[in-house]
């Protein structure tokens, strides 16, 4: 209701500001976002759908997509659980060093992803601080799918936490207290009272994390070894194909990733609406 009134207030007759501002917004987005995306689609399909399909169904391309999805999935699972736990601890308890912890969790946002990559190499690499004690036992984490998951976890660390924590902060504690007075255990209260009100935040946090992890490049190229059909994720595949001059092949996968993120963010948009109405 209130939105209707606020738009009515300024209007006498036709409001020129409306079409003008919308048009300007689209005009500004045109060279920055729309056209670059459109060129991927144009270039990817200008040799016909057959060659697009051939590029997409190359075994290495399929593998790269699967690997990206699988590694992002595990990073998401970890970061959502971790984010939930961290948000719970940091909003329920006040302790010395709490702010330092919050800052540290948020740090990966500002660290260049390449730094994340070589930090992992310096730690877990066969000659790294910890890795050198593992490699004599035949345990190698770097240059495997595990390394990609670690890199994804590092890079997307703050995302789920960042979405979940504000909800915790603003959540009324009276429901939880009521539940406790009715004799529920801590776990029962968490499961039946706290968690349901976090659904929206968990879903958005998970999708954000997943979307970001699928597109991760800078850290992955350092820790994965970039072996086609083994440790090459979709963004690495795109980069390799572009460097080899096979721009059509690069484009085909780029289109898939673009559509994929479009899907994720559409879902996110709808999700936010639905869960907020609740």
């Amino acid at each position: 209701m209130s939105t209707v009134i606020s738009t009515m207030r300024h209007v006498r007759g036709f409001d020129f500001a409306r079409p003008l501002s919308i048009g300007m917004l689209i005009f500004m987005m045109l060279p920055l976002v729309f056209l670059p995306l459109a060129s991927i689609f144009l270039f990817g399909t200008n040799k016909g759908l057959a060659s697009f399909w051939a590029a997409l169904s190359a075994p290495e391309a399929i593998f790269a997509l699967k690997l990206s999805l699988a590694t992002s999935f595990w990073a998401t699972v970890f970061n959502v659980i971790f984010g939930l736990f961290a948000a719970y601890v940091l909003s329920r308890h006040n302790f010395w060093g709490r702010n330092a912890l919050i800052v540290t969790i948020s740090l990966p946002t500002a660290i260049p992803t390449a730094v994340a990559g070589f930090a992992l190499l310096l730690l877990w690499g066969p000659y790294g601080t910890l890795g050198r004690f593992l490699s004599p036992h035949g345990i190698q984490i770097m240059f495997t799918g595990g390394a990609i998951i670690l890199a994804n976890i590092f890079v997307t660390f703050p995302l789920a936490f960042g979405v979940i924590k504000p909800v915790f902060d603003t959540m009324s504690r009276s429901l939880e207290e009521a539940s406790a007075t009715m004799g529920a255990t801590r776990i029962q209260t968490f499961w039946h009272v706290t968690l349901p009100s976090l659904r929206g935040a968990i879903v958005s946090g998970a999708l954000l994390t997943f979307a970001r992890a699928v597109g991760e490049f800078g850290s992955t190229i350092l820790v994965s070894g970039n072996l086609a059909g083994r440790t090459q994720t979709a963004p690495l595949y795109i980069f390799a194909k572009f460097n080899e001059g096979q721009i059509e092949a690069a484009n085909a996968i780029a289109i898939v990733l673009a559509l994929f993120s479009f899907l994720i963010f559409s879902v996110l948009f709808v999700a936010r609406d639905w869960f907020d109405v609740d």
Binding site: K66, L67, L69, A70, S72, F73, W74, T76, L121, G125, P126, Y127, G131, S135, Q140, M142, F143, G145, V203, A206, L207, F210, G225, N226, L227, A228, G229, R230, Q232, A240, F242, N243, E244, G245, I247, L263, I264, V267, V270, A271, W274, V277
Partner: protein
């Protein structure tokens, strides 16, 4: 009416949750299948331009041969990047069993770090699998009239040059330009003119507009319309031509032939893998493999006859190799570091 709406909303929400869960959960069921059903796998890291020859001819050729002789499947996994990048990856612990590098220096770096314990120079032909000369690629019609390296220093020429920090090709290219001037001045006056060579290198680098990480990246950049000229391996120009790209290859009067060493990363080779790895290494110098290299526009190290058979490999008036500078152990510190880094790169800023 209202209950109907809530019911619809609830159902839609349920559907939506299961859809998004399905979307996110689907990949969990398929974690990384490398399709390792019997047979052996050799991991090869190569510098950027080795890709086509290895993947299209050398790997299948060796796999067929090994299968016929031992009844065993051999598969290859490989990764390609700038030679220095590949070397650094291996030094960081990537499990490569074989590396094919653009420059001897990288083979030596692997040896000094203890990754290569055998003497790779003991392999046939000093460990060098193939060669290719350095040439200039220009746009169709050669609008700037570029005939030789010094022409790249002309005003207005925009040059793409692979980065000598990460790319072996970038270093070869510097040696090609510098050595070419020494060689020409030597035939003119009997004395190699170092000042003239440095001057030319400076002029050329004044026109460098971009330094991509590998020879292959440089080519892609050039192919997408960036720059007027590119200094690169002859093979790259020939590959571009065979792909129908409108490019003109200029063979300088005097230029360097790059040597590409193949090394076994002994530290990563399991004892059971030894025979097949050794067999593959020797296969690289077999007539079949050398013929395949020439087919993919390299120049053979074992046979001049093979090179002559390929008519697209143009004659070079005054070719030279790294030996002209006394080998890589002298060329790197004396030219790449003392001349290029300290005198050319410094004055560019």
């Amino acid at each position: 009416m209202l209950s109907c709406r809530t019911k619809f909303r609830r159902r839609a929400k349920c559907l939506f949750i299961s859809l998004s869960l399905g979307l996110v959960l689907s990949p969990a069921c398929l974690p990384q299948p490398p399709a390792e059903s019997g047979g052996i796998n050799i991991t090869v890291y190569g510098f950027s331009i080795m890709k086509e020859a290895l993947e299209n001819a050398i790997y299948p050729g060796f796999a067929t041969k090994w299968k016929a002789e031992h009844g065993q499947e051999v598969r290859f996994t490989s990764s390609f990047a700038g030679s220095e990048t590949v070397t650094n990856q291996i030094l960081q612990g990537v499990r490569a069993e074989i590396a094919i590098l653009a420059i001897e220096r990288d083979a030596e770096r692997l040896k000094q770090a203890g990754f290569v314990t055998s003497d790779w120079r003991e392999l046939p032909y000093g460990g060098i699998v193939n060669q290719t000369p350095f040439v200039i690629l220009v746009r169709p019609g050669n609008p700037q009239g570029i005939r030789d390296f010094p022409d790249l220093a002309k005003a207005g020429v925009r040059l793409v040059h692979p980065d000598p920090i990460s790319s072996g090709g970038g270093q070869w290219s510097i040696l090609a330009i510098y050595g070419s001037e020494l060689k020409k001045s030597e035939t003119q006056t009997g004395e190699p003119d170092r000042a003239r060579a440095i001057q030319t290198l400076r002029g050329v680098w004044h026109n460098v507009i971009s330094t991509p990480g590998s020879a292959r990246e440089a080519r892609t950049q050039f192919e997408t319309g960036f720059g007027d000229a590119l200094v690169t391996y002859e093979l790259e120009g020939l590959l571009m031509k065979s792909a129908g790209s409108p490019v003109h290859i200029i063979v300088p009067r005097s230029t360097i032939l790059s040597d590409h060493p193949a090394v076994v990363i002994d530290r990563n080779v399991a004892p059971a893998m030894r025979p097949v790895v050794n067999a593959f290494m020797h296969y690289l110098w077999s007539e079949e493999a050398q013929r395949a290299f020439v087919k993919y526009h390299f120049r053979s190290t074992t046979s001049e006859i093979l090179n002559d058979e390929n008519k697209e490999l143009q004659p070079i008036e005054m070719p030279f190799t790294i030996e002209y500078f006394g080998g890589w152990s002298r060329a790197y510190p004396e030219i790449i570091e003392k001349v290029f880094r300290d005198q050319v790169q410094q004055t560019r800023r």
